[in-house]
Symmetry: C2
Subunit: 317 residues, 2 copies
């Protein structure tokens, strides 16, 4: 490498850091190329429903729409006030289910208290459920079967799976794969058992032939259970819970947690940290994701990929 090139490029991340920033940029470039190659047949379209004016939800929706535009995916926004009724949302979803320009429907969560959230997410056509939250898609993830057929799944290529898998769990697996981590036969410990992350990522790791153990608030001596793991996925939402002495030497750590902690010395007054004490653990891991810049950027990349895959299936491309 010439001195000039080296001066221009940002320094590569240290060898043991799994950079979601770098990996998600690669995936987005792939998606863009993919969209260009199918553009004459279909333009993928994502409908985004936003209720109320939560600043975090509004920021996420903005980021998702921007990411769509950069890749060549159409996005259609539907913004509702807090006072929207269940029926209005259900009617809109029925309309979007029937709209051939829409290949993915995203309902930004959380919804206000007067809305029954899982009734809304269950109303989305499973084929357009790019968030992977519909019960039919959850069931397929457990049973590893397409109901009404017996297609053999290739879990080594999640992009080939013919139904939608939740974005964050899918992003975790993609990070492992693209960092050259071998999952087969490894002991994986998942900390947290939420429907959005812990459970689906456990099921995905099981499909990839890891031996999974799920740790939760009622687990006795979580530390010694985590210490058995070759691969740790922390998705519990407790700042800096996992310390260096929880880890086996050389473990691979995927940190899904994004926790805000007070930081009076900073401008914002807070900073974001993971469920894993990165500073303490970094030296002990063979690979580890940082927070931010680890799993976070992968979630949107997987949403885009689900949308494009949905469009391809709809168009028979």
């Amino acid at each position: 490498m010439s001195a000039a090139a080296s001066a221009e490029s940002p320094p590569p991340p240290p060898a043991n850091i799994i950079s979601g920033k770098v990996i998600s940029a690669v995936i987005r470039a792939e998606i863009k190329t993919d969209c260009e190659s199918i553009a004459s047949k279909v333009v993928p379209g994502l409908a985004v429903i936003l209720v109320g004016a939560r600043p975090d939800s509004m920021a996420y929706v903005r980021m998702k729409k921007k990411a769509c535009a950069e890749c060549g995916i159409d996005s259609f926004g539907y913004d509702y006030p807090e006072t929207v009724t269940q029926q209005e949302l259900m009617d809109k979803i029925a309309e979007l289910n029937a709209d051939p320009k829409v290949h993915g429907i995203l309902v930004q969560l959380p919804l206000p208290d007067n809305i029954i959230e899982n009734e809304v997410t269950s109303a989305v056509d499973p084929a357009k459920d790019v968030d992977g939250l519909h019960p039919v898609n959850c069931a397929k993830l457990v049973t590893a079967q397409t109901h009404g057929g017996s297609v053999k799944m290739n879990w080594k290529d999640l992009s080939s799976i013919p139904f939608h898998i939740a974005c964050t769990p899918q992003g975790c697996i993609e990070l492992l794969d693209r960092s050259g981590v071998d999952i087969e036969g490894k002991r994986a410990v998942i900390i947290g058992r939420s429907n959005l992350v812990g459970m689906p990522v456990s099921l995905l790791l099981n499909h990839r032939n890891a031996t999974i153990t799920i740790v939760h608030s009622r687990t006795k001596d979580a530390q010694s259970v985590v210490k058995e793991a070759d691969i740790v996925v922390a998705a519990v939402g407790r700042a800096l819970m996992v310390k260096a002495d929880w880890l086996k030497e050389g473990a691979v750590v995927i940190d899904v947690g994004i926790n805000s902690v007070d930081a009076p010395d900073t401008k914002k007054g807070y900073r974001l940290v993971g469920d894993v004490d990165f500073k303490e653990c970094e030296g002990k891991c063979s690979k580890i994701t940082p927070v931010p810049g680890g799993v976070g950027p992968m979630t949107i990349a997987m949403l885009l990929r689900n949308t494009v895959n949905s469009a391809k299936r709809a168009a028979g491309v």
Copy 2:
């Protein structure tokens, strides 16, 4: 106990044996009482679809119908030749879904090769899916949510869960509960990850706050993983695989396996054994199920209970 009574009663099973025979008899008596108490309002009805003439399937169907009759549940049999079409089965299921006298629909598996099995099981109304195989019921078991509501589940009383749970996994938990085994906080290792047993029993143990580990054919050093377990559920279908040196002293063992092994010295020429080497392991376990007479009899008992619960929900009792 008087000498006379003791002479009449069969000897109780040894203290560390979990007898499915005894426990299922208790449950069936409860179900009978339950049916009597609701008889003026609703008579539970189970429709049983049998395709072909496999001797094992015919025997199971016969046992299920007999068990229904003994408890006060109506059973309706629909027998089809091997040559039945997918459409004929789908039409019958649509008819049974609409029939108010039918509260449970059981399709005896396996179906012939020309029938798409999961298309048939998915056609059953989830509310009548007493086998717990419908994707909607599978999804509810993962997410622990009733879609379209947010009822708090009481996993300590499976009979109270407002959707159908697969019978054999449910039977395993019932055996533990009725033998006084505390599940909360225990390490449970499940051997086997089938859709019918391994996965759902893992999910149930997780809901009961066990820390679960799922062992399968790709697990490295399965023996040492199993040795970590306070509770072992063997559901892999390999005769006598689990030996005494696989177990922690005092482990509780639920053996779901039913394997036929050659036994030239017997009249039948074979005998049934579990996945666990009972003779070797019995002395090391605090509790263990025998094969036969362990999990087996529980499956039918849970089918009956699912049917009665379904009838109660339909009748609003």
